[in-house]
Subunit: 419 residues, 2 copies
Amino acid sequence: MISVEAAAIEPAGATDSTWREIPGGVTAPLGFRAAGLHCGIKRARPDLALILSDVPAACAAVFTTNRVKAAPVLVSMEHVRSGKCRAAVVASGNANACTGPKGLEDARTMANVTGEVLGIPPDEVIVASTGVIGVPMPIEKVCEGIRLAAGALDPGPTGGAAAAEAILTTDRTLKEVAVEGDVGGHRVRIGGIAKGSGMIHPNMATMLAFVTTDAAITPGMLRRALARSVERSFNMITIDGDTSTNDMAVAFANGTAGNPTVASEDASFDAFSKGLDHVTGTLARMIVQDGEGATRIIKVEVRGGKTEWDARRIARTIASSNLVKTAVFGADPNWGRVLAAAGRAGVEFDADLVDVFIGDVLVARSGAAVEFDEGRARDAMARKEVLIVVDLHAGAESACAYTCDLTYEYVRINASYRS
Amino acid sequence: MISVEAAAIEPAGATDSTWREIPGGVTAPLGFRAAGLHCGIKRARPDLALILSDVPAACAAVFTTNRVKAAPVLVSMEHVRSGKCRAAVVASGNANACTGPKGLEDARTMANVTGEVLGIPPDEVIVASTGVIGVPMPIEKVCEGIRLAAGALDPGPTGGAAAAEAILTTDRTLKEVAVEGDVGGHRVRIGGIAKGSGMIHPNMATMLAFVTTDAAITPGMLRRALARSVERSFNMITIDGDTSTNDMAVAFANGTAGNPTVASEDASFDAFSKGLDHVTGTLARMIVQDGEGATRIIKVEVRGGKTEWDARRIARTIASSNLVKTAVFGADPNWGRVLAAAGRAGVEFDADLVDVFIGDVLVARSGAAVEFDEGRARDAMARKEVLIVVDLHAGAESACAYTCDLTYEYVRINASYRS
């Protein structure tokens, strides 16, 4: 069951009042069209998406660091090197990973056919896949799907939503967002869609994100902005190095808004980055909210870090603890698990200074138990979004990580995913 | 329900025919006595254990690397520095972690009282705890328990088994083993007990192990042998850096067997190490077998590594993947998850060379799918011990890691542990 998610989620990254949310996703920026449809990889649900900029675009991407890279990742890494790509083709239901030379050939075929039907060079096409590993791609069906999708490309919100739906696998909700703001005195738009719902180990449940913008920005600056933004959003819902064979986040910027091209780290770069953070942060939180089997979001906020890196690392380690996640599922204010997870993050800190809050309830002070109202703490853990705050009292830096609880349903989904 | 585990488990480490299993645990070696009883930390189950060497002993220990260390860990780290300790006192049901200055005082009190009632210096006492974090120790009950335990010390198998039972928390089975073999032409014995059952994140569910031997060995050599043995056993059922606030493995050697003291890395050191590996390896596998909610053991064997470190790291990463564990629970031969987990281990290898077996069924060759008999693969995954083999074809080194499947029961146990 797919329902459009109300855009009521606070973004995870920095926000700025100059950016406001507008309807739509990847087709909200000017000069982009999209489509999504069923081509036959999955039994009955949409499984092929296409996104196209009507004019040449700057492109930047971030890929999985997994040694085992899916064929489409290898092809897209080649294509993005030029900084000039304007289309993405995405197949869902089949990862095209661990598929040998035939898999690579299939990924290239997807780029070639897409380029051909859109009338653009094949190396301006980004290819992505998500789904089961090790199964050959039904490439004829996919090629037929690409041809149909090219004919269905739509510049309106329907096109964007169709693409957003077609990239999903075990997701229960669409993930799309768009914002409008000011860059260099011009009104620009940034939109995005994402998929991913295996939050406990996001490494395996591929995370895909596609961002479009009508801002004018050089490929180099787009790359810098994207890398930084991903670090604060998608990488804060994952644990170190834990990335799937297929993960990628891609941004296309086609300059249709007419702003002076962002070409250095100036004020317009900062303005653009804030809008981008809004989009990636919102998508990241939507992914967590849709975590496999999740009943609650968990926000882990680490304050008082000596460095931002310290705070981030500890926040991620706590957020990736199975024991913290199961405690939240059971609404059990077991703060000892939080502190113990912090202790194994590989960061130096003085455990005797640390305070822990669950919601606004102080549950440990200076590394030790304090009397607290168990009922209030349980209430704080029974909310849809559970806040865990760890104050290291070691500096002024902070970071947030997001995860979801670990439930019976997670086990059910993952014990029977393939069969 | 506690049942004595039949000693039918193959040891994880290297084995040697010169060592044979004998009944008993920590009291199997000469000159050791032990006791276990209920002192009132838990509601009704045994919760206090005492182990004593009748004569002064060499002692070595390995402790948690967590930044947050429980009070007894801090005290034991001080005491073991001399290399001369002869007793261990263990409280279960309360971790005495994150308990502030009072916790440290309580841990010292445990050592002091133990020393007093046994007539030995307090700094020859190792203190250990396991259980809930952040709750003050009921120290009066514990002290009373120590006095009773001192009077109950028993050199026979009953004493060892009582200690083995009293250190357990959520464990379902006793974990004890003993071996007899030859060191320097003398018959010596090595025995051990362990607790730990939170296999998915062993970091939180404390792992405690106590090994006794009547071999004569210097503290330095005992330390070296223990460190190496732990690396191949207990550290192969855990993931990098993931250790609890309370973990420790301790060895006592009292020389009662009369062998020439092992004082260098000679043949007698090697012989002793093999016996020790047998004990630690067996205990490690017993811990996995008793993993929280586990229905199956998973043995991950990585072959063809360039270095042993590479093989170990990949084996541990696969063994710590929630997705691999849930696939095994569902008896689903989803080898893509195995390969993808290998890829994020942080080790360089060529994914196109890798073969994967489930049991003896080849499921992937050269990094890609092969036709295989799905029924046979499912059968291999439905066994009590599931074997996953990954051959990197990059060298001659290999390593094994052990884990258990991830089940509904794991979630149930950990969602309601404290309450």
